[in-house]
Amino acid sequence: MIARGVLGVALAAVMLICGTMTFLYLGTRTSKATVPPAKPTAATPRAQAQSLPGTLYLAQSGAIYSLSAGRFHQLTPEAGWTMPSLSPDGNSIIAVKQARMSSDVYVLNRFGGVVRQVTNNAAPARLAYDPGFNHWSFYPRLSADGATLWMAYDKPKYGYDVILSIWAMPFGGTIAQGKLWTSAADYTGGDVQPVPVSGGVIYTKYDYGPDLQLVGRLWFTNRAFSAGRALTSPDEDCRNPSVSPDGTQIAMICTYEKQVSYLVLAAWNGSTLGARRAIITNQMVAQPTWAPDGSGIAYLAPGVAAGPFQLWWLPRAAYAPPPTPAPTPTPGGPHNGPLPTPSPTAPVVVKPVQVTTNNGFDATSPLAWRG
């Protein structure tokens, strides 16, 4: 009788242990797609991160991180920080801090400490009853001489029609000294992501295409509040411009009005874009950024289908293969006999390198890169 009791208790214990183990085991079998991204400082980037030159600045979950020599450093707390860009001397970071009702441009030092607040977009307390008295500032960029701050700013706005326009203001001044540069189309979201270039500014203009679909177009203007001109067509649906270090090429993201995004390169002569070259067509690519030394392009794209955005690196050889070497002179003088048939050499395919695997970078935040 006692033996049967012991057996029963033992079986119950075995069932309990097996049941618990099964429960816990199944819990570990959930798909990786649902696992929250790790903080860049907690995750280990792949070894390829060490080959990236200089320091790269990225945003994730409201914090700005730097990546240099293969290691991430968290520069700000998770408090709405995004869209880092650099001063021309590389010693300051210009970034956006977004709150629930407004966002402002700040100057940070290289270690993420706040140096000063540039804009003041929160509604004053006496007007806080109406959300419309607040403003957004996004995509800050300094001019090459560091004197002018470019940004997207939601003024003017008309009731429900809240649109971002491109503004320029003295970097040491206030928004009251700022100048409206573009005339954004109504009910489109407006004009965003200015990139100051020699002789003007390139930006993304959202507007309705001929098929009444909202599309993005790269736009160039060289005079405040002039019409400017389109650099890309509506059916290309392009955004996220980035100018190469030598100023002769532009990388951008084009979707062709579909749920895809291609990394496209085009020559830039200071006035128009040349023929397009789609470099990456099988990923949802965002925010291409040229390495300051011209060694490649970093961009954000999911590591797995429908996953959070990771950092990727496209070496220069992938889009600008080295030229075929010129034939070397035959030692000993000209060749008199029949020329040997050259054997065809297979083109070297250079693939993009996934630098991080389990982060979740903000794909609406441009990357900044210090050489």
Partner: protein, 305 residues
Amino acid sequence: MAGGLAYFLPAAQLALDATGQVIRVPTPSPTDLFTSPVPQSPSPSPTTGAFTVLLLGSDDDSKFESDHVLTQSMILVRIVPSTKEVTMLSIPRDLYVHLSPGGFGKIDGAYSYGGPGAAIATVSQDFGVHIDDYIWVGLLGLIKVIDAIGGIDVVTSHPVMDDYYPADVYGGWPYDFERVAVLGGPQHLDGIHAMQYVRSRHGDLQSDFGRSQRQQQVLMAIRQKAHQLSPEDLPKLSSAIGGELKTSIPLSRVAALLPLAAGFDNPDQIRQIVLLPPYTHGDGPDGSIQPDWARILPLVHKYFP
């Protein structure tokens, strides 16, 4: 086995609670004249195995009484398993139609007057479409589902800017407003931002039509993400959805449909339709949208035979 049962218990509980809802079609008021331009009793789909589901999405915050909510999103989905074709037709929430419980009004009110049965009967009688089943999702449900699956990847068509977006999800006062700025371009959206993207309509010249296109876009992104999930994710999903999902599809049919869903992986076979002008035009009573049935019905009968 006991561990496995315990693990999947929440999913089983949800499956039993949410599926197989009985559709009760309300009896119209005898004083109301029926003036719909289409036959009342559309026959079931002639294509073998094809079926049509009405997707309904609602605000269900404290502004509303339980189950007396407006359906701010109404999407007819026809699925043809044999050809793996899917057609999605977004019905403007402000469309001025004859409501099945009686009288005329915006189509989003049908559900509030008579639940899913009234919504189905209204769409069915006005559009001349046989509807096999419905799926209703609450506001919080969509947010939680997207968070539970780890977010979705979307190329947002443009910056969605709204100074007067309803702060009724997590705020204390459901009539409050907040500002939203969902920026344009490829990005990974969590539940709350995906909801802002599909729900805001103030900053879109096409108002509800633009919003309908964004809703279809997010549905497609959820479908794509679902391909990455495993059965072990079901308990987490079901605890997220709890109470925010109802469907008339019986559990046995859900089980049969799940393997089928995996086969619909060709985006070119998913047709998306939004009833933009000239199919509809403004100037309806109380800010509603007037349908042009002479244009709508041939289109609907072509894709929802």
